[in-house]
Symmetry: D2
Subunit: 417 residues, 4 copies
Amino acid sequence: MFDFAETDNQKLMVKSVKEWCERHLTFEQVREMDDRGHPFPKEIVEGLCGLGVVMGTVPMEHGGSGIDWLTQAMISEVIGYYDPTIATAAGLMAVETGWGFTIDRYCSKTVREKYIKPAIKGEKFAGIATTEAGGGSDVAAFKSTAKKDGDEWVINGEKTFISGTEECEKWGGGYWINVRTGPALPEAPHRNMTSFFLPIDAEGVEVQEPYKDSGRMALSTGGFTMKDVRLPDEYRLGEVGKGFYYTMEGFDNARLMIGASCVGIIQRIIDDAMPYIKERKAFGRPLAKYEAIQFELAELYMEMEALKLMTRKSTWMQDIRYKEEGMPEKTSEAKTFKPTDVANWISMVKWKGPSLAMKAAEKAMIWFGAAGYTKEYIFEYAWRGVMSYVVGAEGGLNIQKIVVARELLGREYIPYK
Amino acid sequence: MFDFAETDNQKLMVKSVKEWCERHLTFEQVREMDDRGHPFPKEIVEGLCGLGVVMGTVPMEHGGSGIDWLTQAMISEVIGYYDPTIATAAGLMAVETGWGFTIDRYCSKTVREKYIKPAIKGEKFAGIATTEAGGGSDVAAFKSTAKKDGDEWVINGEKTFISGTEECEKWGGGYWINVRTGPALPEAPHRNMTSFFLPIDAEGVEVQEPYKDSGRMALSTGGFTMKDVRLPDEYRLGEVGKGFYYTMEGFDNARLMIGASCVGIIQRIIDDAMPYIKERKAFGRPLAKYEAIQFELAELYMEMEALKLMTRKSTWMQDIRYKEEGMPEKTSEAKTFKPTDVANWISMVKWKGPSLAMKAAEKAMIWFGAAGYTKEYIFEYAWRGVMSYVVGAEGGLNIQKIVVARELLGREYIPYK
Amino acid sequence: MFDFAETDNQKLMVKSVKEWCERHLTFEQVREMDDRGHPFPKEIVEGLCGLGVVMGTVPMEHGGSGIDWLTQAMISEVIGYYDPTIATAAGLMAVETGWGFTIDRYCSKTVREKYIKPAIKGEKFAGIATTEAGGGSDVAAFKSTAKKDGDEWVINGEKTFISGTEECEKWGGGYWINVRTGPALPEAPHRNMTSFFLPIDAEGVEVQEPYKDSGRMALSTGGFTMKDVRLPDEYRLGEVGKGFYYTMEGFDNARLMIGASCVGIIQRIIDDAMPYIKERKAFGRPLAKYEAIQFELAELYMEMEALKLMTRKSTWMQDIRYKEEGMPEKTSEAKTFKPTDVANWISMVKWKGPSLAMKAAEKAMIWFGAAGYTKEYIFEYAWRGVMSYVVGAEGGLNIQKIVVARELLGREYIPYK
Amino acid sequence: MFDFAETDNQKLMVKSVKEWCERHLTFEQVREMDDRGHPFPKEIVEGLCGLGVVMGTVPMEHGGSGIDWLTQAMISEVIGYYDPTIATAAGLMAVETGWGFTIDRYCSKTVREKYIKPAIKGEKFAGIATTEAGGGSDVAAFKSTAKKDGDEWVINGEKTFISGTEECEKWGGGYWINVRTGPALPEAPHRNMTSFFLPIDAEGVEVQEPYKDSGRMALSTGGFTMKDVRLPDEYRLGEVGKGFYYTMEGFDNARLMIGASCVGIIQRIIDDAMPYIKERKAFGRPLAKYEAIQFELAELYMEMEALKLMTRKSTWMQDIRYKEEGMPEKTSEAKTFKPTDVANWISMVKWKGPSLAMKAAEKAMIWFGAAGYTKEYIFEYAWRGVMSYVVGAEGGLNIQKIVVARELLGREYIPYK
């Protein structure tokens, strides 16, 4: 039965995260971190972790808070609201919660104890390193390999455009990597990929100088090489050869967090813009009375509400999926919604969310005129920050479109096939 | 608690309406009616009424089916799907259900017995006649008047751009009209308007030649003059001087039906377009494999899903509102959502729905090329039909934007004030 | 040296065409023809031909007026202005001028005397019949053939979505057809196509029932079959095997006329809309004072001016090209602009023009509200009429995009290769 | 007679500026200046000035190069191409050329000798300081005043969001200011404004800390206060009370330079993007073969060509205007095009140019994915830089729309009146 009301528990969680943000993620604090660049905000991360909301969906048995995805998305929305610059918390939240949960689902007890539990507490960093020079979404182009040698795997290759390399090095932790454990089949390049958890300090890992980015200062973007890195078999995630499927699951969870945070970002932009355009006059009329401005505002609001409903529905589907699959262990297949059904909805959220949030920031800058171009307001920060989600973080814009079209039309209509 | 599942009862109702449509609203039947123009499809109307879905939200005590708005919207969606041309059923459904329910809520027993109950059965027509030459949404420009004379009201004036004048004359029935029963106050032009139910065959009513329209052939568009029309007081709807507020309520209900039918229209366009673009080849590739086409399709699908969620939420709000207000009699005020909260959401639905549906039809025509321009496919019909909702039926595009902006910014930022 | 001024001669020609249109293409006349459908406006056609402006670019030696393309485009602009419905003159102008000129360039004296000279006078119809069931722009899919038999060619096949089949039958005349005179090479399907002029009354030609179209009532759209049609060799156009290249040239000329007429259509929409939105008030303010309306108007105006400049430059290029190639006989190759350079610009004009004109009509309908949806104003007619240019007449929207991208990126990036 | 060819002289000038830019405005140099922020590129400025192209339209009699506006726009296009970041040359060019020319036209010999001639040589800075806290385009809100005291004027007030305050202080020079020399008439607030040239080192001028901007690092943005600043009458520009009209003329010239530089910026983005998308593969196909990318590229190219034609026509009009008005002294009124005719076209260029350039940069970032977000490519720089033109430099986006609508509809339809 359709219902659009939050539970009391959800309201309570949202309220407590808001209160924390009001104190620790003020505009001044967020701005200062973005201006500085790669702020390594240990205390911010630990604070959030203390609330139990980073990787909050990890089951309690595994050290998480056992929150459902719907509630977790509401929390990401709050984080996006207070950190629209993605200077600090929002980026981490998306990356760590989306991927961390999925690592936890497939990792051994060893990896969980040594890396995931500390990451849940904010003591270590756990990220994803899938992209290679050949492309981000195109797994067929991946060249890194793992070869079994006794009880160990020997890993070689290179990863690039990886979020958080500096942070990972500094705080400790590691990455989910995907490497080939068999030949790349031209017809099925996504097979024969296996996932591992790679400690950043493993011997043979060399971290490179990070890129200089336009924004999203929460996390550096860099790469690393792996030269004869030896990992025990218990660093493997899930089954041999199934890395691609786990990765898709991780992408979905991370994309959901991004989509949800965009709802908050847009709400923040609207909330920050409204008082100014109501008060500021041009030619004797408040800016807000000009249709060119108020209709743009109204459209952003309308589309934000649409996006919010989409995040609610996607997470509701994801919650049903995980419930049916079993938690913490996966014991059966989801029936009500196939994973691709959920992926389709999540791609819609990742498509619409960042594009809309960037447009919102851009519009607010234009409404504010020259003032909107300065660093006196949040808009310039949000504009640069959210662009990272549009161009590629957790899958670029066109990839989402391909997913949605594929689910609608069928795999045989994928444009590059 | 958020929930996005239909109840068994809703599924059942949708199914039975679909089955009826499969037999009575085939493409050939719908097309034939549109080609003919103003088809007066008595048997279609009576068939739908037999299912209990025209004015289905009228309480059982008053002869309706007592369906909630959420379910009624699902049914409108089905009707829109089978009649995207709005040649026949969809237009009637929107007008009669939205307005009929609201008339029923405020009318006397006499009007209900003589007009509303027959209209629910499809034996008479019940519509809305509010627009005057000065404008559709601008009530301050209305000039028609009613003057009390003993126990009767004497009504003079003219109404234009009224849906269904030919149908009303032919089938019998009448219109909800709004007329001035006191002076137009410059500061509050919406006061001193009173609503009546005007039988089309009342003495002094003269119906004019209808306009020639681009589409929406279900209902003629015309006008009528009222010259010293005498109506007993029991033809009054609600209280003297409150006609404006009742009208806004009627608009909301009619807009909801339109928005919901647009979801169905878009789904139909997608469903009709997909097999063709999958099969039809250009330069050796199916049209569906061209990104220019598949990404447009995917975007329409995504936005349709967003729109559908918005209709679900709006009707859920409207249901809560009516429950709190009391039914069939209004006994208290809604608390959870104020009427303006609901109006805001409904305006978003009426803004996004018709615009998106028109775009969908236009895109499908372009994908199909010269074939899409012919009357061999539903698209050309839907394109013209749905444009009636964009330009003005139940409030034009910019009116919806003004409503949304007004609720966001406050009344003092209405652009024309 | 850049110059944007019309010559006195151009002003004079434009003036005389305008004067003729003011008398023969009034709104009432144009509307009546569109309402009737396929009006066969012999007197309109002969009137225009009497001014020397249909196929005005045909050299004087061949019975034309020897106008340059720049001036011819200005004239098409005027025709589009007075016939935005494309009910009558505008469609014919585009088809006959664009293609007629090109037929004349490659035809034998016999064809010229029997068909082209009469067509220039409005006594016969000369069109293009290239599309086959497999696709409009995809020549590789064409299956019609011509086989040499002595001095004659025996032609078999079928053409569809052909403009003017009813008119051609009624008035006499014929079509430029393209047929295979050799095998379809997978790597070069555009080779081995040869062009002929096919009299519509040739034995073996059977004209089919035309389609019912949404608009563009000037010309019916239909098809014909060719069964063992025998044509003397002098009905061949140009060299054997080069039909594809001539067709591209014809497309370019026809697209130019369409682009130019769209400038006029948009200007007409603006001119018809302005007085109404200035006078009509909503909530006490003229519609024109609402930014939502005036900014849309201003944008249409701006883009129309951009489009006009593009038609000027394209025709200026085409004039240089033809001058360098030699006229009436082609004696050398163009140097300043290669044919593909011109084609690129013309595709931009055909891309931007119809899309913009349709948007203009749609916007005007929305500004006018319910009135804009009636047949009281030109907008509804223009909206349907110009859609024919968007969906496919002389190449659909996406084909133009492919051409522009191809010239920019190179042939190896054509998406379907 | 329409002509779209450059003269040999224009080609020569463009070539020489290009050659200079190839050496002095490489990507590395430009990027380094933007990264540094407010680079004070004295040598860049002097180099450009050495070519005679900064304020190149100033008549030779006054120390300029006497270039026409059409040629000057071609040069601005080149500068925009090499400095799309507006880190260095492009911003200066627009501000100094547009405004400097206009100052020169109305200033006394003293001001010309002391400020304009040195500025033409790159030895001093000459800018515009019109904006006040009350708004940029809304002159009615301006509060600064000048009072005549003997042969001197005593000036008080404050200017804000002024381009180049740091540069002006550092290099010497001054600003064109507008101040009230009579009361602000509610019905005609633009009257009683008088223009002066204010040396930045005049006693009583205090320059404030500049804003931190998102980009456009060529010029700082700041403000200054004027406290009892005394200026001799020869620092007055033109006639008393006519400052508003001169300012509009200056705006037009500056906007033209901006529009022209945007053509170059877009061309640069296209040129930089093409090799990458041709080479870079995703899923085995070059990015350029994906329609989603190539159609966006093609559209940018098309609109850039449209914009280029618009800059050509606008400057051609401006050249005719100035020729008719007389140079260096204004001796009569322009007849062929009224100043408002030219202003209309220039506003179209300023509307379309920056919006399109920003969209081009944004699109390229998205095509490049995560790489496009880094500072390895020009796009991120251009994206931030050109936004300064959208939000407000020389008049924000909506102001341009108001101008275009005003010229089309008439002054009585200005939305704020």
